[in-house]
Symmetry: C2
Subunit: 349 residues, 2 copies
């Protein structure tokens, strides 16, 4: 199988290297032979070609079976974008999502055994939290017209029935395979797109009689995630709300460095798998980044991208094991570096 690796910027190269070594370790038993193509992307794409999504990189992605991404961005590129009108690394990411129509972003967040103390929440509140957020990823205000201006500016938030329908189905399917509860988040008391969103979700619900659906306003949901995170199962929401709520949630379970994500399109386009953390320029190149978010993203890649469920589970079990045994990288208050964390996981496989 062909994997395109987009190391990206900052700690991206370090954490993708760690994940590749884990992928390489589980591949033979899964009957997979990996052909790996590393391509410049984000800031690295800008450095190499002036374009955050170089043509060659896009080509490689399009013909891959799955894509693993590290992280993009950094202050150097922000400065250049602001003051010299240079492209932003993030444009590469948005461009790739759009080119491949990766409309469903899956963000699982749960409390890891042994890591309860990493959550900033009281243990009685956060215990048993296990939520899958399904974020719409190629619509909404991210992809409507942006009118730049120094006196007036505007952004358009558009949604079509079809865009809502397809991501809602992904969420209902996921809920069916989990605890059968779906929470749809919108701002229907203010936004026209949210009223459309709510109507379409209710329509799709008719096809999933075993799933119970609740509609919650985004401001209320931002509260509920803090006060009663354990009461949710699957959450589906539009692009911008999903960006905010999924980051809030990963902070709640205390695992910003551990959280993976999958961005999926239609069954015949390659999915994009990436940790939710950023490029962390402050610690880049020091070999101390937590590789687990990327390693768990590689597990999602095996499951959703290559249908290699057993190999995915092997990785997830190995990660649980080492965390239970007390392995802690710096972000979790320990002193394991990237290499030590990766070796421990390889040993536990």
């Amino acid at each position: 199988v062909r994997l395109t690796i987009l190391p990206g910027d900052g700690i991206g190269p370090e954490v993708t290297d760690a994940a590749i070594s884990v992928l390489t370790a589980v591949a033979p038993d899964a009957g997979l032979s990996l052909a790996i193509d590393r391509c410049p992307f984000g800031g690295a794409g800008i450095d190499a070609t002036g374009n955050p999504l170089p043509e060659q990189t896009l080509k490689s992605c399009v013909s891959a079976d799955a894509i693993l991404l590290g992280a993009v961005g950094g202050p150097k590129y922000d400065e250049a974008a602001r003051h010299q009108g240079a492209p932003r690394p993030e444009q590469g990411l948005l461009g790739l999502r759009k080119e491949l129509e990766l409309f469903a972003n899956l963000r699982p967040s749960k409390l890891f055994e042994g890591l309860e103390a990493a959550s900033p929440l009281r243990r009685d509140i956060v215990a048993d939290t296990d939520i899958l957020i399904v974020r719409e990823l190629t619509g909404g205000v991210y992809f409507g017209d942006h009118r730049e201006g120094t006196d007036v500016a505007s952004d358009i938030m558009p949604y079509s029935r079809e865009e809502v329908d397809r991501v809602a189905r992904v969420a209902f399917e996921a809920a069916k395979g989990r605890n059968g509860r779906l929470t749809s988040v919108d701002k229907a008391n203010v936004l026209a797109t949210s009223r459309l969103w709510r109507a379409v979700v209710d329509d799709v619900a008719k096809d999933y009689p075993t799933v119970t659906v609740d509609h919650v306003l985004v401001d209320a949901m931002a509260m509920h995630l803090v006060t009663k995170p354990a009461s949710f199962d699957v959450v589906v929401t539009e692009n911008l709300f999903g960006d905010i709520l999924s980051d809030e949630l990963s902070a709640i379970v205390g695992s910003i460095g551990l959280a993976p994500s999958a961005s999926l399109g239609t069954p015949d386009t390659p999915g994009l798998f990436e940790p939710i953390h950023g490029s962390a320029p402050d610690i880049a190149g020091q070999g101390i980044a937590n590789p687990i978010g990327t390693i768990l993203s590689a597990a999602m890649l095996l499951r959703h991208g290559l249908k290699a469920d057993a190999a995915a589970e092997r990785i997830e079990t190995a990660v649980s094991t080492v965390l239970k045994q007390g392995l802690r990288t710096k972000d979790l208050g320990g002193d394991a570096d990237t290499a030590a964390a990766t070796s421990a996981i390889l040993a536990a496989l």
Copy 2:
């Protein structure tokens, strides 16, 4: 002085009554004689006139010195809006904000002494949290064109330099009077309005050399509020982000029933003061709602609306005292009802 009271829906009438009795108690010593005009608004406005912001109500508000609001909304009105195209109670609130140009929403959130255990966060994380969120309230996606539709829909998020400038100045002034730190929240890596927002905030910053400014992306801010709430002082952000983050924050400090707000326009328009909680239809009419959010909103009304700072402080001190003494309404795990909580505060004045 003329006060317009908008009891609104659900528990609104109960909590505004409680606040009026407190206002009435402190008025004489503050040299204030109160002329109170209660007007239908929100769902109650729809019931009375078919309009959530009846003409008479708007007239009363316009000529008032300050406005105190309970809460609006309820499932009955949601149903009617969805299925019979009836107006929504919330439209009254949005209409009033716009008519009076109440562009700056002040949402103070701090941990009350004695109530540390009401926060869902670990005490070591939440201790010393004391944040003022300044939310832009009359711009952005709330007030851009909404295109309704069953196949496609869209909302427009517009901002002008002037809109950002005036709310930024409110935030800088507030920061100057507090700890001199301002965090401006946007999504400048995606939105044109956020790039304008950031540029204007930086321009205004030049007039406030003693205030330090940070720019934080909204998704990162949703995390930081959970992981390090004590590290912020004043936060300024646009309408939708402010809606989400201020509710998240009030859940974090554990005081949804205690949190007040002030919505301010130019110095010569009356401000609108309201608790941040909703109309809580499930407990309406039972006399058990927590009146403290509205009573603290009345204190903000005295301070910002009537320049009666001493009276405002008397109320705030009385509330702190009764909470320190252990008074707890039902939402805080106690059994004090609305009347008992109000009497305790009146006694402590």
